[in-house]
């Protein structure tokens, strides 16, 4: 029994699927203490969109450290934070024609969601937040209430209230448009649905099973928010920062959320950082009304500012879309070759997955792939979706290798099944 098993809480999870002690990592590869390399199609659950230890980001951080830059600063002004603000405004907001205030609510995505929900309630004087079937927003009590997963919810130990649950795009099948049902429930007088303070949505449900909201759905939700005079919050924590091809996952839909939550790959290097973008009109926080010790994580500001270099022009976006196209075609091939095992390819951009007909196959494929040197996770309420989340910066050859390993793993499972 190693020290993890003897001394770490039973709550540990991913290490159970990938029972190796990792030491080093570069680009799309992680290395165990035994120096074995693993292709990483997991990317820190979306926190490593630029791969491991990207030299440009490491260099920026190393310089900062050498300069004895301030590490921790609560919400004091620092040069590192100033640079990040300048870069973000210049590189992201202005080119997108967006006008938002930036809030650093603490370094986790859950903190961003909690802050967004608080602000929506404060601004609207309403208490309910509408969230979606399959949604995932974090583990702290406010964010957990908005999270759909039954096991996670059960951990709360108290009633998770003040949430209205709406059917996500496609949830009700092909014959029923979710937006019609949502509208009926929220807009019919006397329905019993109290008007929400906000609707919070992920454009792709990366934890909930890779369900994708179509642009038309997002537009309908935005219009509904206007009619209900409630806020639209996009939780772009996993789908943002380039995962779907553009910096914000909702850009292609043209919607203009009132609040946007970012985290995960925001710092670029995988350092804890989160940010809430707020339309200036609703930035009604009182000073210090939401605070936290690690709001001023300057290492993360430094690498986050450096990571924005990827977004200076369209090169990176173009590269992502090319990789995404290749990824999808290869997954389709795997599906076609294994129709009794894989029912569907789901997802968007560089977050795509294979939906297994049998929930247990998800774990089996992940396990087989890992044994062959590929880290790939599952998602969905029953872990029935094999989720691919490669670094956006992945070399084509490594992506290809990883997909070959995955293909073999799926075929192996399919063959075993036919034999059984």
């Amino acid at each position: 029994m190693n020290i993890f098993e003897s001394h770490e809480s039973t709550v540990r999870s991913y290490c159970r699927s990938f029972p190796v002690t990792f030491d080093r990592a570069e680009g799309s590869l992680m290395y165990g203490v035994d120096k074995r390399a693993y292709i990483d199609f997991f990317s820190g659950a979306g926190a490593l969109n630029y791969g491991h230890n990207h030299p440009y980001l490491v260099e920026a951080l190393t310089s900062y450290i050498a300069h004895s830059g301030v590490v921790h600063s609560l919400d004091l002004y620092t040069r590192a934070k100033e640079r990040f603000l300048e870069q973000f405004v210049q590189t992201i907001l202005i080119p997108h024609g967006m006008d938002y205030r930036l809030m650093f609510p603490g370094p986790t995505g859950a903190n961003a969601v909690e802050a967004a929900m608080k602000l929506a309630r404060k601004v609207t004087w309403r208490t309910n937040i509408a969230a979606f079937t399959g949604g995932f927003h974090g583990m702290t009590l406010g964010a957990l209430a908005a999270t759909a997963n039954a096991d996670k919810r059960a951990g709360a130990g108290v009633e998770l209230g003040n949430i209205i649950r709406l059917p996500y795009d496609g949830f009700l099948g092909v014959d029923t448009d979710s937006i019609d049902v949502i509208s009926a429930l929220l807009e019919t007088p006397g329905s019993g649905y109290d008007k929400p303070a906000a609707i919070i949505i992920e454009t792709v449900q990366c934890e909930g099973g890779l369900h994708v909201a179509q642009s038309t759905f997002l537009q309908s939700i935005e219009a509904l928010c206007h009619r209900l005079e409630c806020l639209l919050i996009v939780d772009d924590i996993q789908a943002g920062c380039g995962r779907t091809g553009s910096f914000f996952s909702f850009s292609e839909s043209g919607i203009q959320p009132d609040i946007i939550c970012l985290s995960k790959s925001l710092s670029g290097l995988g350092l804890p950082l989160s940010m809430v973008l707020i339309r200036p009109e609703i930035d009604r926080w009182k000073p210090g009304e939401h605070n936290g010790t690690f709001r001023g994580h300057n290492y993360a500001f430094v690498t986050a500012a450096a990571a924005l270099e990827f977004w200076r022009d369209n090169t990176f976006a173009t590269q992502i879309m090319a990789n995404a196209s290749f990824l999808r075609s290869r997954l389709k091939e795997i599906q076609t070759a294994n129709p009794t095992t894989i029912s569907e390819v789901r997802g968007r951009g560089m977050v795509q997955g294979l939906v297994c007909r049998s929930a247990s196959h998800g774990a089996a494929i992940s396990k087989a792939a890992f044994e062959a040197g590929l880290i790939v996770e599952t998602c969905g309420p029953q872990d029935e979706v094999v989720k691919l989340l490669p670094p956006l910066t992945i070399d084509h050859a490594v992506l290809d290798d990883g997909l070959s390993i995955l293909s073999s793993a799926v075929c192996g499972i399919a063959k075993n099944e036919r034999a059984a």
Copy 2:
């Protein structure tokens, strides 16, 4: 208007009191972009007990970066985490005769509190957590419910339930022992107080006004928890990691909490990290029941492991107590010299403060001190306490200088008042 004022949310707070853009920091000093030095008696609200950029910690981190060590790993096993676990067990747990499981719930103190509260509810099948008047436990919805501050609570926008509020040690004045009232409320049949899942307590209320729980009070609370069959949670996020003289602030009382929350100075360098210590018998988490993207912040594991070197023997503790003794005597002198302005010296170890008779004097003293080159904050429900939280590693001369600045600031306020 700088970019902070134009683009950062109005929620920003400390920067309003200390309106300088900081660039570098070393030991007990922070430097503005104009190179002016400030003595730091704030220490990142307790996240920088070992001072800024301690060379030993920076060196450990720099080596790790040079090695391309894994930065982000969710809860995968990494060499960096392994080393931290080994060090923590060897340096802290075994010498204290403590047997606990370690949980990494996400990098913030609030996350540690949320996890602790969840676990207590899960283990006991009860829903209420008892927390104290003046307590501060974080800003996410679960932790916020346990937090006493009215302004912070008001930010929630929803009812903060499932909390029982108990009077802290000394809260009811000298004639009424809080423990008697607590016992009556929680132990009298038919009182209407449902039995709590846990009692959560800070041994020093560092945000709530520097109230200190005596050892006898802590022992009585522990005994009460046993009688009620509820858990005892010590939130040692601000008072722990050496702030009061020993690694855990409760060691001198001899109590054995069921759950201990650590964060802030745990990483040593000010990097986001938190940890929950759990008695093995109640480590009943299901795998992944509480999770989070930044549980595996390896930079923080590296520096946290290095910081444990301070605790190899008693040298550091002895040094802290010497500093604390000097700090207290100087504060007492200031009080004695300004009896109409300062009513009391409060606190313990290296977290002590001056209680102002007029709430507005707290901010005035902080402001005057900052103009003279000292960063010192206020706390308490009306910011009436000037709170001193110098690095534990501070040089005697710097501590002395800082206190001289503070003394002048207080005298200046007192003089102005007499003139008025």
Copy 3:
């Protein structure tokens, strides 16, 4: 200003629509202090199914009073209660082949609903109750949470939690079957809908706008409850006691609820009484776990026992159905004659209504009818439905007269509108 206006709370409501002081009442007629007679199509909102002061019931009560029968008895055994129990078992339960325990939770319908919800939560260890759009279940905090009406909900002043709101039969229009949406929300893993303790339903939403649940819908809900292992509660407070033609409104659907709530016309004479029928297997109350001062209202037991005489054979049911058929045909005629004013005839049995195209017409019709000597109310979220709830015992001639008054009122409104 009369004493009502000077001294009764502004909360008073029906008296604003029917501003007469009533003195006497017999059968389907109410008499003002000025001796003017009004035909009563309101029947105490369903509490007077057998009309006012039915001689048989009055005689039973008068005898009991003359005997000095116990009036108030908490839940002590009394001869009056014993007789009611015997009659109810013999006349209702045995002929219907039903096996239920009887609980008297207090004299109001809300109390019956609160008790039903408590028991469902207790038995299943779940906290949420699923209720329907348009549902009405009472004004106390538990029952109010299940009630859909926005104005009533707003009165709570606190968050109304622990309720899941489902679309009622027909709520989503003709193209979407509510049961499909309900099933998707409650039965899809990871939807975020926690399994409910019970589903509570009215077979006709007498307050919510006279929407009717089809038998197939009720059967589907019952099947769903079985799959979810949750309880089925029928709130038969307004639709029961014969209103739809049989003693229980759900009899024709063949479902077997786990819990049935009765009140309103249960006592026959309009005296406060309510009852909860509980399947024996789930009668897991501890003695006194739900109590109340007025559980033993013996006058109501006496008249309730007498009222069961109506159900000795099928005569009464046959008469109700004949009246209902006549009522519907006359309402259809009114609709046909006023297509621009009335959009639809809704309801079932002896609770039917005219749906106005303009919400304001509901009140106008009620007002005009009252001026012509007919008491008829409105319902629906915007009071857009003119609701007819005549005594079940009404003479054909009086029913005909009342409908003529109503017809004139509708025509008058329609004519005014055309003129406008």
Copy 4:
């Protein structure tokens, strides 16, 4: 097994202590079906202050029935209600110099409490109601939250929130004044106690163990309410209507509550009726915002109006105080004679009790007394208090007889104990 045991829910309670089927009742006597007489020291838990079937009240009701008076009227104006309003204003409000609006929220005390709590929340825009240790306010979800009894609370099956629990007068022992603790908790900035919408109090905790609030305590609570700008609600449901000697139990303290809840003996005859008195300035209900089917229970209005005759002059109050004085002296004698069994005589006016040293003795005394022909109940969290609640109209001889039976019962228990 009789029909109660076979068909009534297991929730039934009092009938388990007094397993007789009662048939008739007059004055202070109840008669079983076997014609055996029992002296009633229980009085319908306070609903029968004027005894059973008082001829004056029965006569008023009989006349009304003979006149075919309206029985059920929702909140329509009726002659019966008008007379009650007139009488109440003339006989009670004007002589007391009180200016209140009258609200009829439904016929139960719980409904009055729910309405009072709703209104307080609505008027103050705050959510919490402060209630006391040992308080009892009803079984519906809002009222139950304010109720202290652990068994009753456990029946809810959901979290009972939005209540602050305060120590009642005397709860903290002789050395600690509850008001000091309450003031510290509610008035210290940063205590974590959110300001309440109202404080709800019983002047005597008739269910909670016969604890009595001194006039000075009530006055302090009133002053505190003014300072907190919250409402003062007196729940006078059990202690009002003459039980303590005056119509309102708080008259002697001189406080002026914002809201007063009455029920139980309000109708005089034991018929379901409740009423909320509201200071005109806070009567901000919207029409129909709180409603209910049985608000217009005219039989109860008729008997309630008749019962007010008792309060035309001081004769009745004088008689009550004489009886109360006799009652207390006899109970003191019993205590003196049985010091090892009875620890204390508690209560006020005509609600007094013997506190047993052993909780089990309460039930034993009640049982022995019943066997000897006396109905007397227990109260307190462990049923340790034998509670005497005789009709206020009881003849001296019957009171004396009942007390003799009680004395024998206590002595018998005491003797058994000494023998054991």
